[in-house]
Amino acid sequence: MTARLERALAELAEQMPPAPARDDLWRRGRRQRRRDRLAVAAGVAVAAVAVLFAVPGLLARPAPMEVGGGTDAVPSTVYLPWMWQATVRQDPRGPASMLVSGDSIGLRGPDPVDHEGKIAVIGRDGSYRMLLSGGSERVAGEGSILSPDGRYVAQDHLSGERDGYVLVTDLTNGKTKRYEGPAGAECCAIPVAWRPDGGALVLAELYRVDSDRADPVSGIYLQPGRLVQLDLKTGATRPLLPFDNFSNVRTASLAAYSPDGSRIAVAVDQRLRLLDAATGGTLWTAELGERRYLAGPGAFTADGRRIATVSLDGCLNDCDTARLASRQWRVGYLDAGSGADTTGPAMPPVTAMAVRALGWRQGTDLVAVAYGPEERVRKEAASGWNDTGFWEVGDASLVALRPDDTVETLIDPPDAVLSMDVARDLLEAGRFGGEAKEPDIFPARRIIIVPVAVYSSPVLIVVGGALIGWWGWRRRHGRR
């Protein structure tokens, strides 16, 4: 029976004439082989590049550090972050040692391709993560401020978050809490200073006003109208002080908490007021004059008995770049109890366009950011000038003024760094000179596609052109 099936199949098969043996079988097969090899080579190359970029970042990635780790330190230097550096929300790395802002492509992106406002958060593990906001440049320490323990950043705006009166980002989990202002106000307040225990903020509340400086797109101009204290635990707000004349508000030296958080020194209209933080009442007022300012958010001495001021020797108005750069600042003191001038540790003068005191290292050295002027910048009277503003500053460094009459440079970052803020706990403990790590390439934001496309396109064009030419030549002189 099987033999009959076999015979039937053989009979059936005999009905098929030989298929034509086409001449190009060999050539087609070899062409497919070349394509296969090219595909494999491309796959291997892509995999190799991915491994090259990804593996070091993954291997070098330590676990997030816990709050208050005993070996944390402010790094000895600062590097510029990558344009595509991951955000805090994308990959939170825990508490930070400092915040950095500037005008490199990693610190300021072109809207609308990237975010114009970028703050680099340097973690206590050495990582670099970003806080992004579109529409305007950011300045670390003014508007984006780091909590004393390095765990939180307060800011008035953050991309991807609904606007609020103020936003506070937890660096350990990347989540942002939104606070309302007085009477449920949902806009807008600039953070000025953290209470030393991290439980409250002083904010400069903004009003919408008509101005020829309004944003050309939104038509809105926001102007600080008053200082407000926000209790972060309860969300309660307390108005502290209205600004009668905003042009006399100097953002670098607006307010400073006393070490115990019970008093707030506020400098407005060439006067320094000491406020009771609990009631908002004024304890005393001191006249500063036009050349003397509150030293910064770290102006209170460690014992809380004095308030540091800085006085300008040099050009006040109508200053060119050279004269701005040669300004000198002398440290003076007011008695915290009375507001009267008093003596204190003698500090060396600092040569800089501006200084902003952040706090006292081990109770003896005044740590400050020293700002240099931007190239070809010029200060003119009544020009809306800001001594520490994004457009006025050309470089910044972190210095320590010591009673032995020396100025120690703690961090001398690249010129593209225009401002810094340092966690108060590390500053007061004197933990500087820690290991500085360069930012990892990964993890990245999706915008990494843009530089990859830009940098790889010439190579792809050259390689693609060569391949097309080679295939064309093969076709014309094709082998049999």
Binding site: M1, A8, G29
Partner: protein, 176 residues
């Protein structure tokens, strides 16, 4: 002899036999020609490696059977159900040509793998072990597929009962 020359020599000598197998697998001439072309192009890609191990027939047949399944998969979207042939021929145990016609119609209703097993076993006269090697499956799969294919032939065309046996399957229970 260069690789290209040896390939052309092999094609010249074997294309008739390959065409016949392809015809049994596909059931029509055009598909058979396509299958042969695809198989040989694919073989040409790795010809040096194919001939390195001696006789290329094993590799070529394995390629043809796997291509046959791929081809069938790519075309099955356009497949139409095969209606019962109104002029189905009646059994004629003495006419070889009539047997071939009936077998062709019945083969068209089998799955590609069932057709492949029958062609390997009853046309190419391969053992179950060899068929399993060509198809890349186990011997038991070859056995069960053969059994299913013959049972389906009997169900679809009772007139083939004489060819494929009734009740007892040919070679059931062991390889040759």
């Amino acid at each position: 002899m260069s690789p290209e020359e040896s390939f052309r020599a092999y094609v010249g000598g074997r294309i008739a036999a390959l065409s016949r197998v392809a015809y049994l697998l596909t059931g029509d001439r055009h598909s058979a020609e396509d299958l042969v072309q695809m198989t040989l192009v694919r073989v040409a890609r790795h010809w040096e490696r194919v001939i390195k191990n001696g006789d290329p027939d094993g590799y070529v047949h394995r390629t043809m059977y796997s291509q046959h399944v791929s081809l069938w998969r790519s075309r099955r979207r356009d497949a139409r159900p095969v209606a019962d042939s109104p002029d189905r021929a009646g059994p004629d145990s003495t006419a070889g040509v009539a047997d071939a016609l009936v077998v062709r119609q019945a083969l068209a209703r089998l799955t590609p793998k069932q057709r492949a097993v029958l062609v390997l076993r009853f046309f190419e006269d391969r053992t179950e072990v060899e068929a399993a090697a060509v198809l890349g499956c186990s011997v038991s799969t070859v056995k069960s597929t053969t059994r299913d294919a013959l049972a389906r032939l009997r169900a679809l065309a009772p007139e083939l009962a004489d060819l494929v046996g009734v009740g007892v399957l040919p070679n059931e229970g062991g390889g040759r």
